[in-house]
């Protein structure tokens, strides 16, 4: 079982890797490839996994996450893969993005372009292999544009459509594609927020739900925690006349 985690230093990516390490610990043939932009940070995540799953093989690949050629080369070098989880992302401060186009530009690059390039390269690999499980971390923020976070949310909307297309493309094959929409989750992204949401999901719970869904070959969309599916259904169905008056 070879698993690639793209942006393995992200809270959800690392939590998922840990959960895989726990659930496959006794099988011994587990192999992780941790992909990210910072070797030093990746090495810490790798050390942690080696302590948790001494039998597992853990490799690290440093790559420029915004360079399409580097991304394609890195994905090719990964060799045969069973599972890939694409989770890079940065929570963008909406007000800053409105006033500084470089922040908006970077947000779109890291939250939309980079994961799409990885997903497409991995999809090509899985297509050739004839099997593979691809999961991409989206967000509930992509379900409807809101004034509080559309700079970030729009990238996630883009990813949702991208993943939807992949799901369609691989519908009748051995490849499964899953878009994951976590609700607000406690992470490094939220730790220093000025006004953190009062109810943040525990990354471990989110990771468990992700890993179980991916392992089972689920296709389509996964809301985690599941309650968010219903919350976002309501948010999406609100008529503009009401929605536009809400301060959310």
């Amino acid at each position: 079982m070879k698993i690639a985690i793209v942006s393995a230093t992200s809270t959800i990516g690392q939590a998922a890797a840990r959960y895989w390490a726990r659930s496959f610990e006794s099988r011994g043939n587990l192999e992780f490839v941790l992909v990210g932009r910072n070797q030093e940070a990746l090495d810490v995540v790798a050390a942690d996994l080696r302590v948790r799953a001494p039998e597992a093989k853990v490799g690290v690949v440093e790559v420029d996450m915004l360079n399409r050629r580097a991304i394609e080369a890195a994905v090719t070098d990964l060799g045969q893969l069973d599972i890939a989880l694409v989770c890079q992302g940065e929570l963008t401060d909406q007000t800053t993005a409105q006033n500084d186009s470089s922040v908006l530009d970077h947000s779109i690059q890291i939250n939309a372009v980079s994961p799409a390039l990885f997903a497409e390269a991995i999809a090509r690999k899985f297509d050739d292999q004839g099997f593979g499980k691809l999961a991409i971390i989206g967000s509930v923020a992509g379900d409807r544009g809101r004034k509080a976070n559309y700079a970030y949310g729009a990238s996630k909307t883009f990813l949702a459509t991208f993943a939807q297309g992949l799901v369609h493309r691989f519908a009748a094959s051995g490849v499964s594609v899953l878009l994951i929409k976590p609700g607000p989750t406690a992470s490094r992204m939220t730790l220093s927020l000025a006004n953190p949401p009062t109810r943040l999901a525990d990354p471990e719970t989110v990771a468990r739900q992700i890993v179980r869904a991916v392992n089972s070959g689920k296709r389509g969309v996964l809301y985690t925690p599941p309650l968010w599916r219903w919350i976002m259904l309501v948010v999406r169905l609100l008529p503009n006349a009401i929605f536009n008056r809400l301060n959310i």
Binding site: V51, P54, L191, S192, E204
Partner: protein, 439 residues
């Protein structure tokens, strides 16, 4: 800026502080006495509070770095929780040598408060099992501290209340266990004298011992003595081993804050009666999993909310063993007279270990820990009366739990304050250090 509280939830106003995910480097360039390292915020009092300043959270430093199954030495970043250590290593035959009554504390916090557990008489404190630690200081230095290297700074940091620098990582020695189960036994006692006799009788043969004592009005002073040892290999693969080590398994949560405290005189009396009879009637030997045995309160997340909006105090004292019986009786009488029963009262003897740190609370003697709902001045008056008894007996209060002791009481119990101040980091200050150390 966030409104941050400690586990006792006492202060609700003017507690705003900036919480930032930290790696230790953030200390450099900070204004004097402006920041405080923070772990998981499980201390009861104000040791982990820094109103008006910045809290450097170790939450993102949650990685294991190295483990050697030959020696049991584990190196981990400071924000790793004890629960993560227990559930990762218990299935592999290793556990923490010393653990406090909650596993939701960080390694950094456990070191900074030099915590102890039910096996103090056999294993000492958490600090006794730390072989080295890395300390980031505001002058930009990253000190490797151990009994051999920077030994004075090492001793000052163990039990140093977070004031000597930001602990980034530590190496601790885990102990081997043959299963995650314990063989335990509960024995009722009628008074402090019987408790001490049971302690004397048990300490040689039982690694763990702790007692619950009734502090409510009827039957004040009686209690349940609980002792135990790690169970042998025959229990290693008992069903549920793995399941019960999983996070979130069968964990209840106190869902919301009440406007009033559920802990009042009738409920304390009722609980104490029920607890005694439930345990006295079922007094027997049994096999317990480490989770409910070490961490009974962890089964209910946010149990501190049961004390309502005003929060609660924990009052933990240690008094010398030789005069302990009279002193404890006096304290229990004082509590009864004040009509302020403690919901949970824990009594334990501490072993003859030299303190691991310069400012360690643990010392030979008998320790009594009490939880009191915050009833304002009434509660504080009771504490003042208890302080007098503790100080007269040559005892000390545990700063990790404290939110109100006076500087005089603190200095009476901790004679190394002057020496300790030499090792403090000038950028670091807490609500507690301003109260008890003057800065």
């Amino acid at each position: 800026m966030n409104n941050l509280q400690s586990w006792g939830r006492l202060e609700t106003k003017n507690q705003r502080a900036m919480l930032v995910g930290a790696t230790g480097r953030e200390l450099v360039g900070q204004k004097p006495a402006s920041v405080l390292p923070r772990g998981l915020g499980r201390s009861y009092g104000d040791v982990c509070l820094n109103p008006g300043g910045t809290l450097l959270s170790s939450a993102a430093l949650n990685n294991f770095l190295e483990f050697d199954p030959e020696t049991g030495l584990l190196t981990a970043q400071a924000g790793v929780s004890l629960s993560e250590i227990q559930r990762t290593f218990a299935p592999r035959g290793f556990m923490l040598a010393v653990t406090p009554g909650t596993q939701f504390v960080s390694i950094g916090g456990a070191i900074a408060n030099d915590v102890h557990g039910k096996n103090h008489h056999a294993m000492g404190t958490f600090g006794d099992h730390v072989t080295s630690l890395t300390l980031a200081r505001s002058d930009g230095s990253l000190l490797e501290c151990s009994p051999e290297n920077n030994a004075e700074m090492f001793r000052a940091t163990i039990g140093g209340l977070g004031l000597t620098g930001f602990i980034t990582q530590a190496t601790i020695r885990l102990r081997r266990v043959q299963s995650p189960w314990l063989e335990t036994e509960s024995i009722p006692f009628k008074n402090v004298g019987e408790f001490l006799a049971l302690s004397d009788e048990s300490e040689g043969d039982y690694e763990y011992s702790v007692s619950w004592v009734n502090c409510a009005t009827p039957f004040n002073g009686r209690g349940i003595f609980m002792r135990g040892n790690h169970a042998g290999p025959q229990f290693a693969k008992k069903a549920g081993d793995v399941l019960r080590s999983e996070p979130g398994a069968r964990r209840l949560a106190w869902p919301f804050e009440l406007p009033f405290s559920l802990v009042n005189k009738p409920t304390v009396t009722g609980f104490n009666l029920a607890y005694y009879y439930a345990n006295a009637w079922s007094a027997k030997k049994q096999i317990s999993h480490y989770q409910p045995y070490f961490y009974p309160l962890d089964a209910v997340a946010n149990w501190n909310r049961m004390y309502g909006r005003s929060g609660f105090y924990q009052y933990q004292s240690v008094v010398p063993r030789d005069t302990g019986q009279e002193v404890l009786q006096e304290m229990l009488h004082k509590i009864r007279a004040a009509g302020q029963g403690s919901f949970l009262s824990v009594l334990k003897t501490m072993g003859d270990f030299p303190p691991a740190g310069l400012m360690s609370f643990s010392r030979p003697g008998i320790t009594l820990a009490l939880d009191f709902a915050n009833l304002g001045s009434k509660t504080l008056r009771l504490f003042d009366a208890l302080d007098e008894i503790v100080v007269a007996a040559g005892g000390a209060l545990n700063p990790s739990k404290d939110a109100r002791m006076s500087r005089e009481v603190f200095e009476a119990g901790f004679q190394n304050v002057q020496e300790f101040n030499k090792y403090r980091d000038p950028a670091i200050s807490s609500a507690m250090s301003r109260r008890l150390l003057g800065s």
